[in-house]
């Protein structure tokens, strides 16, 4: 609830649309990949070090973690296809013999498939999110705030949380 409130506050604030867009992109990347992978640690480092919106990241991470359950079979099959591709065998063998790449667990079909799909989607998610935030602020924010249901929400517990969130 707090994260959702923070996300709304970020959307309605003066925060840069790119900060929110990259946060959503990183949330997507972390949400799609299996936990406890080196790739996830790198994403976490980037999220914390780069000035991206943490609320948007956490909300995106939660949404894409749920989506990942549905997409797991597709991502695993993409990983299977890549790892069994004859033309890539020399590459995989070279990487497999490197301790660093072994640490990335690239030889796991779901890990590789989710990273590849995540990275392919990343530019589109980032640009789409940036456009979405801008469009929301220009066109929808005022209209949303005027909605009867929003007015009702503003009197609810959710709104008190929203108000209590700093920044």
């Amino acid at each position: 609830m707090t994260i959702l409130a923070k996300l709304l506050k970020a959307l309605n604030s003066e925060a840069s649309p790119w900060q929110i867009a990259f946060a959503i992109m990183f949330g997507m990347l972390l949400g799609l990949t299996p936990t406890l992978r080196l790739f996830g640690v790198v994403i976490l480092l980037l999220v914390l070090v780069l000035r991206v919106n943490l609320a948007a990241f956490l909300a995106s991470f939660a949404v894409f973690t749920i989506l990942a359950f549905l997409l797991d079979p597709l991502m695993a099959s993409v990983g299977d296809a890549l790892l069994t591709s004859a033309s890539l065998q020399s590459t995989w063998t070279a990487m497999y013999n490197s301790d660093f790449w072994r640490l990335t667990q690239f030889n796991h079909s779901l890990t590789l498939g989710s990273i590849v799909i995540g990275l392919c989607l990343a530019p589109f998610i980032a640009i789409g999110a940036k456009i979405g935030v801008v469009q929301y602020r220009e066109r929808a924010m005022k209209w949303v705030n005027k909605l009867h249901v929003v007015q009702m929400v503003k009197t609810s517990k959710f709104y008190s949380i929203y108000q209590s969130v700093g920044g």
Binding site: P34, A76, Y96, H108, S109
Partner: protein, 583 residues
């Protein structure tokens, strides 16, 4: 750049990673303890307890103390308990989701030790299907000869019927062929006629013609009779070939039936046939539990883990290997030294390449136990290997024991008979093969310097107890079959015959009287058929002798030089005619 980088975030990252590491360090021991207990319970189907777990970083590894695996057949005991296990784990492989243990040391392994409190059983073991440990007949009443003969398929009866049938089948044909033969009078008549022809004085041509005609008729009659002799011989030979073996079988049948049935006169033969199994079976099963421990415990655990890994890989992606020379399975213990404690004596066993993916590793798990000159045995040697493939567990094992000192072992403790092995020296050698769950194997158990204290509760078991008490050595052959979960042991020895003889001997006059009666009854069954067919056969043989004599006479007559005699007489008549015509 200042707007892009959030330096406090780096500190937060370090704190987050540090926090995760701290939590891991604090709870890793509890997590491993929980994992061993829960995975062990899944694998064995019974409660698994771990006393404590501690980890170290250089080299990275764990030490686990006081592992207890509940025996699901007897929850008040542990199937196995381990005082201490220490493993060096390849951390890099662990990060790649592989459990590679370079060296595992397990000390103080003990089997079938009592627990402080009974452990929980999650899966009931399959019933072993073994017979009750002691199943001797309640009474020693001997069955009557009538009962035995009525309930037993007798060879004598069958042989008598066959001989009788064969005799009746050939009797008419032989008699008919014999009746057709010329009798003695006819033979004598032939001889007289032949003599007359040989002595005849021919003076007229018409006499010559008449003599020649008579000679031809005689020769024809002799040839026809010779044919009848040949017919008789053929008929008789066919009858003899059919009846002869059946008559011999009939003569032998009472003796064979007697040998077969005399054991029944003294009691339940089936009970004696199972005495080795009854007396030594329970103890042999206990010995086998120790001998097969490697397969019995490690095999199913590896199999269960392999199945779980297969399920996990289907649900959450697949791990690929790209280097044939260093491909590693998901789970591997390269080397394990396991110290097993048996009656205070430590037995070292060595293991290599314990894994669930032998096809990936390309070699089986090897294990060996080698212990010499212990106070309890002179030699204990077990060599074996096991491997898992897509169809299940395969293994083979060879064992050799010598000079195992047995003392105060309860062999049987039942209402009817109790037996304790006070002391003995045991030697055993055998092998066992497991092919996708199916067991085959055999072993020899030799007991020397045996001292058994047995006590019976009725007439029969007292006799058995006496015989057991007199045993000084015993060789037992065992056959192993069934499955790993339900092994079946067949134990055979000369004890069965020894005890059966002892019982028979002790039954004395009563049994002998019945045996005599049995012999007489069997002979009586054979005698009528023997009389009919035997007498008939004797008659045929006499006929054959007579026929042979007459045939000889006929052949002699046929060989007589009738033609020369007639020619001479004919020449004389012709000379006379020439003299009269030409003067």
């Amino acid at each position: 750049m200042r707007n892009v980088i959030r330096w406090p975030g780096l500190l937060a990252f370090v704190l987050v990673i540090g926090l995760i590491a701290l939590i891991s360090m604090l709870f890793i021991d509890k997590a491993v303890k929980y994992a061993i207990e829960s995975l062990g319970a899944d694998a064995t189907g019974a409660e698994v307890n771990v006393g404590s777990v501690s980890h170290r970083y250089s080299p990275f590894g764990f030490t686990v103390e006081d592992i207890q695996v509940t025996n699901h057949s007897a929850p008040e005991n542990n199937q196995v308990q381990i005082a201490r296990a220490s493993a060096d784990v390849d951390l890099l492989a662990l990060l790649m989701n592989k459990v590679i243990i370079d060296e595992l040391t397990v000390d103080g392994v003990q089997f079938d030790q009592p627990r402080k409190s009974p452990g929980a059983v999650y899966r009931q073991p399959a019933a072993d299907g073994s017979n009750s440990p002691f199943n001797l007949p309640d009474n020693i009443e001997m069955p009557s000869v009538d009962e035995i003969m009525a309930n037993s398929p007798l060879k004598t009866t069958a042989a008598a019927n066959e001989a009788e049938t064969a005799y009746q089948q050939h009797k008419a044909a032989v008699e008919q062929a014999y009746q057709a033969l010329p009798d003695k009078k006819k033979i004598e008549a032939y001889k007289t006629q032949l003599k007359a022809l040989q002595d005849v004085k021919l003076s007229k041509p018409e006499d010559v013609i008449a003599a020649e005609k008579e000679f031809k008729q005689l020769k024809e009659a002799l040839k026809q009779d010779k044919q009848k002799f040949a017919q008789f011989q053929q008929t008789l030979e066919t009858a003899k070939q059919d009846l002869g073996p059946k008559l011999a079988a009939l003569k032998a049948a009472p003796g064979q039936d007697f040998d077969l049935l005399k054991g029944l006169v003294a009691g339940d033969a089936a009970a004696f046939g199972e005495l080795t199994e009854s007396v030594f079976g329970p103890q042999a099963r206990k010995w086998s539990d120790s001998l097969f421990a490697a397969l019995d415990i490690v095999g199913p655990m590896l199999q269960q883990q392999a199945e779980q890994e297969a399920e996990q890989s289907r649900a959450a992606g697949t791990w690929y290997s790209f280097d044939d020379t260093t491909a590693l399975p998901g789970f591997l213990i390269r080397k394990a030294n396991v110290s097993i404690v048996v009656k205070g004596q430590s037995i070292a066993s060595n293991w290599q390449d314990i894994t669930t993916e032998h096809e990936v590793l390309g070699r089986p798990t090897l294990f060996s136990v080698d212990s010499k000159n212990s106070p309890l045995w002179d030699l204990l040697n077990i060599q074996g290997q096991l491997s898992l493939d897509s169809l299940g567990l395969n293994a083979n094992q060879h064992w050799k024991l010598a000079g195992v000192k047995l003392q105060q072992l309860a062999l049987a403790n039942a209402d009817k008979l109790s037996a304790v092995l006070n002391s003995a020296l045991l030697a055993s050698e055998g092998s066992l093969t497991l092919n996708h769950g199916a067991l085959t194997g055999s072993g020899d158990i030799a007991l020397r310097d045996v001292s058994i204290a047995a006590e019976g509760q009725n007439k029969l078991t007292n006799i058995l107890a006496g015989a057991l008490n007199g045993i000084s050595s015993l060789n037992i052959n065992s056959d192993i079959s069934g499955t790993l979960a339900q092994p079946a042991f067949g134990l055979k020895s000369d004890l069965d015959n020894q005890l059966a003889d002892a019982v028979k001997a002790s039954l004395g006059g009563e049994a002998q009287q019945k045996l005599n009666s049995l012999q007489a009854r069997l002979n009586a069954k054979a005698d009528p058929a023997l009389g009919t067919t035997g007498d008939g056969m004797q008659q045929w043989l006499k006929w054959e002798e007579l026929a042979d004599g007459n045939l000889g006479s006929v052949e002699d007559m046929l060989k007589a030089k009738f033609d020369n005699k007639l020619e001479q007489e004919k020449d004389k008549v012709l000379d006379k005619l020439k003299g009269k015509i030409f003067g």
